[in-house]
Symmetry: none
Subunit: 257 residues, 2 copies
């Protein structure tokens, strides 16, 4: 299974090639191909802007035309900013990503993502070689995505499609190992303490308000998922407030914590 | 209905502020806020790199701290590259976008997207004020997203959520009914009061524990959606606890409530 390659047609600026390499590697893409590059890409500027993705630059290959650059691929998808006068399906990065993943994953096909020159975008003849057009949905009143940002978005969507297809690859859910969630018992211990201290302080003032105000406080503190430690902190806060500068008793930690 | 604002904490490079403005406007975001900017953003470099999004730069506002920058917002979401040792929900841009859209569209709330300095990312104290953390899923072997690219991806996902939400004529008009959500200003008023009272009570005991404990409390209270009334209740609770049987001053309700 080979992730898609990125094909830049006539890239004009070395810095953009560096930025594209960086964008690619962030999302696990490593195969960069250049069609008639108008600049160097092994120089210091490109390397610096790759921010550590030099391997992508080093392995990049240049070709004379798109035919040569795409010789081993099964599908090309052409990224364009503007609609073209061409009968070709137009997809957003979000729509195209699962299709590309499917091409690659289930059929073992190889896919190229095609991006045009910075100033003018792809020529129709290159788009014509593509299976479909990718267009990023943008603010209709201000559409000004640069080359590297277009690569970021398309590569990101591919990576997302991959991550969501392979549950294990998804970011791990943060665990509360060190800091287990509070049990209701712990929370109620805190709420009991709070009620008691508020009662002593005269907070409720009239008996008939007590039930309503207590309920409102319980509701507030029960909506949230606290950890055990946080509930202990809340208890410490209440104890400190009612007993300033005192040696207030700190709630004991349970064994094993 | 106000789209999210973007808050950059201590941005270091003028060019990045320009690129962020461009990224924002591509996806219809216009409210840029800068916390302690370390560079100019009205200069030629920033303007050039905004690629036409000068209006975003011109309307950008600078603040001394995150508290001031977020005074009118209801929710902050903090973008971080690395997992932090903090109990806070971690969401991908894709997961968070529909939630933010929902906050804004159906409840008329105001949301800030928080991004840290280029070199080091956000400080835990700023993350602590946020509702949840946004982390972009990246290649685990090469994770190197720059500031503007992070903004591109989060703004893109918000735009996607907006585009894919089919406008529904039957949808209720967003109303802030009897019990509107608390703004950050209100929450910060409570947190300031709590800090002050805990300081007086000797809760922090040693100066070096103060920052850590304050952060932990801010984190705990910022994770949740309180209503204005609930924040007033919390203030009343603290006032009652420190001044038992006293005629503690009740925070004033705003006119019209």
């Amino acid at each position: 299974m080979t992730p898609p390659c990125v094909i830049l047609v006539e890239p004009q600026l070395d810095q953009n090639i560096g930025k594209v390499a960086r964008a690619m590697l962030n999302f696990g893409l490593t195969d960069l191909r250049l069609v008639r590059p108008q600049t160097e890409w092994h120089n210091e500027t490109a390397r610096r802007l790759s921010a550590g993705a030099e391997s992508v630059l080093e392995n990049a290959r240049a070709f004379d035309d798109l035919m040569a650059a795409s010789f081993d691929l099964h599908h090309l998808y052409a990224t364009t900013a503007r609609p073209r006068d061409m009968i070709k399906e137009v997809l957003s990065p979000r729509e195209v990503a699962p299709r590309i993943y499917e091409d690659i994953q289930t059929r073992g096909e190889r896919v190229g993502l095609l991006f045009g020159p910075e100033r003018c975008g792809l020529e129709n003849q290159d788009i014509a070689l593509s299976k479909a057009v990718i267009t990023v949905p943008l603010n209709p009143e201000f559409s000004s995505l640069n080359l590297a940002q277009a690569v970021v978005l398309v590569a990101y969507e591919y990576f997302q499609a991959q991550v969501s297809a392979v549950p294990d690859a998804a970011a791990p859910t943060p665990t509360l190992d060190e800091d287990p969630p509070a049990t209701k018992e712990e929370l109620q211990g805190f709420l009991g303490q709070l009620d008691q201290e508020l009662e002593k302080s005269g907070y409720f003032r009239a008996a008939h308000r007590r039930a309503m105000m207590t309920q409102s406080l319980h509701n507030m503190f029960s909506r949230m998922d606290y950890t055990s430690q946080e509930v202990r902190t809340l208890r410490g806060v209440v104890a400190a407030l009612v007993n300033p500068n005192g040696i207030y008793s700190r709630p004991k930690r349970k064994r094993g914590e």
